[in-house]
């Protein structure tokens, strides 16, 4: 919040600290992509930079949207996204072995991306509408479960387990914060733990293999364990301060697969070491703290739950990707937003951040009015 007479009010009111932080992460990501391309802004850094600027602009635009507007459009938007998901499942063409895209002619839409922020908002809206006394009742559970379950299932059958998990995680976080009794989390968690062996049977071949190799990456070091093994080698060989910028042999000699997308963090950690990796993790943690603070300070229940849910989306990106890259979780295709190459993750993150900025802006104006 820079207050100066010279700077116009609308600009000065932007949360500059957050924007600097996010731009810092983005810039680090661009440098990393420059290195991953062997010291070239083509083909990744340039396009990623353009996407970053474009979606940062979108975030700033979104920050002007009023809470009431969001409230009024969230249900129709949610329904539209679900319809698009159904369309993807039914008409979507096969690309990358999965039906994730809806080709609208001019642009290819990945509706599951929009579902990530939407699920947080729609549940926040649902719990806002729910009378406070009903929170311990059945009617507090089933509509929310359906709101999460329908899109989650539609995404998982695409099949995109990673996004499905993120949608579920964000939705469940909102339910938890809304005050749904603990037994509703503990009992299903126990049931799922018990059911894992059965679910395992229904997974796709490649999904099964990912889990197998997560449990024992050395079982197939040249096959599907290769990703995890090479990623660990990249991070581990980086040491405390890294091999130096543009000097990561794992990524430059292509031993590290997907070194610019899902495993971009490994590329970064190889060249910048534990120091660089920790810096990125701390930066993310600061973004999350900012989001959680916005949630805590929100005056309305919708604001509280929305902001916490959007923060949960950001957190799940960050946590799932890093756990995977460091060999603590199975390989699910979740990128690290702003570091990994890929416009859709940037878009989703910027939508989340834009919405958070909008809530934050309205808190401030309200405070000032009060």
């Amino acid at each position: 919040m820079i207050s100066s007479a010279i700077i116009p009010q609308p600009l000065a009111r932007l949360p500059w600290r957050l924007i600097f932080l996010v731009s810092g992460i983005g810039l680090f990501g661009l440098m990393n992509l420059y290195s991953a391309a062997g010291g070239s802004i083509q083909p990744w850094a340039m396009r990623q930079g353009a996407a970053f600027l474009m979606f940062l602009g979108l975030a700033i635009v979104l920050s002007k949207v009023r809470e009431t507007t969001i409230k009024s459009v969230i249900f129709p938007i949610y329904v539209a996204i679900v319809l698009m998901l159904i369309a993807v499942d039914m008409l979507g063409f096969v690309g990358k072995g999965a039906q994730r895209w809806l080709d609208l002619g001019i642009i290819r839409l990945q509706p599951s991306e929009f579902m990530k922020p939407a699920i947080a908002l729609v549940l926040a809206r649902f719990y806002e509408l729910l009378p406070a006394g009903d929170i311990k009742r059945w009617r507090a559970i089933w509509p929310a479960a359906a709101l999460i379950g329908v899109p989650a299932v539609l995404v998982i059958v695409q099949p995109d387990l990673g996004t499905g998990l993120m949608v579920t995680f964000a939705g469940v976080t909102v339910m938890f914060l809304a005050g749904v009794p603990l037994r509703w989390f503990l009992v299903p968690a126990g049931a799922i733990a018990a059911a894992i062996p059965i679910i395992y049977q229904f997974l796709h071949g490649y999904q099964k293999k990912r889990i197998d190799t997560f449990l024992d990456p050395e079982s197939d070091p040249l096959g599907s364990g290769y990703h995890i093994t090479q990623s660990k080698i990249a991070i581990g060989s980086g040491g405390f301060s890294g091999k130096g910028y543009l000097k990561g042999s794992q990524s430059h000699l292509q031993y590290l697969p997907e070194g610019h997308t899902d495993f971009a963090f490994a590329t970064l950690a190889e060249e910048w070491g534990m120091l660089g990796g920790t810096l990125v993790i701390l930066a993310y943690l600061m973004v999350l703290r900012w989001g959680m603070k916005v949630a805590a300070n929100a005056p309305t229940r919708f604001g509280q739950l929305s902001c916490a849910g959007l923060s949960a989306v950001l957190f799940s990106y960050f946590a799932i990707n890093l756990l995977m890259v460091m060999g603590l979780a199975p390989v699910v295709g979740i990128p690290l937003p702003l570091i990994s190459y890929g416009g859709s993750a940037v878009m989703t993150v910027m939508i989340c951040l834009g919405l958070l900025m909008s809530f934050e802006r309205q808190q401030r104006t309200r405070n000032r009015l009060a």
Binding site: A132, I135, F176, G179, Q230, I235, G236, S237
Partner: protein, 644 residues
């Protein structure tokens, strides 16, 4: 309702704050865990992952060292390296292995077995270690591969080295041969050099025993490669160091001459410098051609070699044992003198010797003989009588002192050292296995048999050569194969007059009216002395004396010798298997071999005459035999194979 609702709203906001704290805490905990994990990987386990990363990045291509030469005492090469063309595959650089291998199979005319092997090795291969496609590729085929290189990524044509032995089969048993290391040898040594394509190790003979000297130190080409096998850059290479040359005491010319002179016979010829013990010739024939092993021997050739009754795979100088026959009589004569027998004492030979109710035959009726005559005429009766007087337990120590039954310190893969029997030996063997002998104690007839080099006495030709060298020089000559020695060996504790008596008899054998008069050396001032021997292969049955009939049952012919008589320099032994007699088969070979040393042109003229009679030189005959073998192999493969 309103009241309760308000309470619930307050309650709800309390619950929200509490749960926010939980979620925020969980997020911080996950972040902390991630930082911890990052530290664990990058700092605690850094060394391990650094190593793995280097392993990924840097590949070492082993450059096999050139094998050291083997040269003779004059510096003439016995085993050298010839450059050849070879083709390897770099698995990581191949784009379409199946098609590439198929193209190569066609270009190089590879057999289906070979193609199978290449496919197998490719499947097992990792990284930048080459897989051998073919070696010893003819230039035309090699050129055909090189022109098509652009469409064959991963194919690496190269210059390699094959071991070459100019003397061929003449040095076969002595030098041995080289070959690719077997899985077992690799297991033992665990040296990646052993599985480098084109690298050969000694498999037999001196090539095997001198392996550490000859091998050299491999070089390495360190290269940085990408995951796809693309060569990024070459790092500092480590040059290879060729193996050191090894000089043998062998005279390559003499070795080859002796081998050729043995001709079609199955036998061996060992010649030593009797003053120093240097082995100058150690020929065993027939022999395999080590060159065909270093190229990789064919199955038919191997089969022919292993089934030949003349045993071309056996080194007859040290691994074949023979009853020495009369060749040990000079040694017995020394033992007799050492135990008080006067060489002038005469024994009457009526054609044999009666022991109890048995009559031990002599080869003739020699009448009254002294030691000198007994050696010259090879009179068994004299040695029966005198041997029986002294007892074999007193003769055996002299046999051992002269090298008989001994294992020498030589770089040989194995030595069969035979037996010098005595009463203690017989008792021991009887205790081990009672079926061997009728009685455990040493009998007089055992002595009689052993005294004329039959019975339990069996020896190898090298021991006979050492014996004659020690008699010739009176020195304790230790046979050596490595290096050239100048200093004479120390003297044996044998009185000069004893030696003179025995040498006189040996002079008579060749230069008097002895058994080997036909093999006299006619050069002025150079006389050969020797002793013939004829060893029975089986018991004399029904008067048949092993002088004819089936080759397998004919007597062995042996001859020990030294020359010049007055100033002994060379001594040796020749054994011709089933040659029917020492004088007839062995002595002429010994004479010609010595002639090579004293008058080479005459010796070579003589050999040329002989070889014309045999149907060509050794090389020509070997080539002819190989062609016949190839033809047989071709017809065998052309014929329909019986179902397995």
């Amino acid at each position: 309702m309103n009241f309760q609702g308000r309470i619930t709203n307050v309650h709800q906001s309390l619950s929200f704050s509490r749960r926010m704290a939980i979620v925020g805490g969980a997020q911080a905990a996950v972040a902390a865990a991630l930082v911890g994990r990052l530290g664990w990987l990058a700092v605690a386990e850094n060394e391990k992952y650094n190593l793995l990363s280097e392993d990924n990045r840097v590949q070492l291509i082993i450059v096999p060292p050139r094998r050291g030469w083997i040269i003779d005492r004059l510096g003439k090469p016995i085993a050298i390296n010839r450059s050849d063309f070879r083709v390897d595959l770099i698995p990581d650089q191949m784009e379409d292995p199946r098609r590439t291998v198929a193209t190569l199979a066609q270009l190089l005319a590879l057999s289906p077995d070979e193609v199978d092997r290449i496919r197998r090795e490719l499947a097992a291969a990792r990284g930048f270690q080459p897989v051998q496609v073919a070696e010893n590729v003819p230039y035309e085929r090699y050129a055909a591969v090189t022109v098509r290189l652009p469409e064959l990524p991963g194919v690496q044509p190269a210059r390699g080295f094959t071991r070459y032995y100019p003397a061929g089969s003449a040095v076969g048993h002595l030098i041995g041969y080289v070959g690719a290391a077997s899985a077992k040898e690799y297991e033992k040594e665990k040296n990646p050099l052993l599985i480098t394509p084109g690298f050969k190790i000694g498999k037999e003979g001196l090539e095997k025993t001198l392996e550490t000297n000859l091998r050299g130190i491999p070089g390495g080409q360190r290269v940085e490669v990408s995951a796809r096998g693309k060569l990024i850059r070459e790092l500092t290479p480590k040059p290879d160091r060729s193996g050191a040359p090894v000089q043998l005491s062998i005279d390559a010319g003499l070795q080859e001459y002796a081998a050729r002179r043995l001709g079609e016979e199955s036998g061996s010829c060992v010649i030593l410098d009797c003053q120093t013990g240097d082995i100058v010739c150690m020929a065993s024939m027939p022999a395999y051609d080590p060159n065909s092993f270093s190229d990789g021997i064919g199955r038919t050739e191997w089969k022919t070699l292993s089934e030949d009754p003349r045993k071309p795979l056996l080194n007859k100088t040290v691994n074949a044992l023979y009853p020495p026959g009369s060749t040990i009589k000079p040694m017995v004569a020394l033992a007799l003198q050492a135990h008080g027998v006067d060489p002038k004492e005469r024994v009457h030979c009526p054609g044999g010797y009666r022991l109890g109710n048995r009559f031990f035959r002599c080869l003739g009726r020699h009448g009254s003989v002294d030691m000198h005559r007994a050696i010259a005429k090879s009179c068994n009766t004299y040695f029966y009588a005198m041997g029986n007087r002294v007892g074999y337990d007193r003769i055996a120590p002299m046999a051992r002192m002269l090298g008989l039954g001994q294992k020498f310190d030589l770089p040989l893969v194995s030595q069969s050292y035979g037996t010098v029997p005595d009463s203690e030996w017989k008792r021991r063997r009887y205790a081990d296995n009672q079926k061997l002998f009728m009685r455990p104690d040493w009998t007089a007839s055992d002595t009689l048999n052993a005294s004329i080099g039959q019975g339990y006495l069996i020896l190898n030709p090298l021991q006979l050569a050492v014996m004659s060298a020690r008699i010739a020089s009176g020195r304790n000559a230790q046979p050596t194969l490595l290096g050239v020695h100048q200093d004479p060996a120390s003297m044996l504790n044998i009185p000069q007059e004893h030696l003179d008596a025995v040498r006189g008899g040996m002079w008579e054998v060749v230069n008097g009216d002895g058994t080997a008069g036909a093999s006299r050396i006619t050069l002025p001032g150079i006389e050969m002395a020797g002793k013939t021997g004829t060893a029975q292969v089986r018991r004399i049955a029904g008067g048949q004396r092993g002088q004819g009939g089936d080759w397998r049952y004919r007597d062995h012919g042996l001859f020990v010798f030294f020359a010049p008589f007055d100033k002994p320099r060379y001594a040796g032994a020749v054994v011709i298997e089933h040659g029917m007699g020492g004088a007839r088969a062995a002595a002429p070979v010994a004479k010609d071999a010595l002639m090579y040393l004293f008058d080479r042109p005459a010796a070579e003229k003589r050999l040329a005459e002989l070889e014309t009679g045999w149907g060509g030189t050794l090389a020509e005959r070997t080539a002819r035999r190989a062609a016949a073998m190839d033809a047989a192999a071709a017809s065998a493969t052309a014929a329909p194979r019986p179902a397995a």
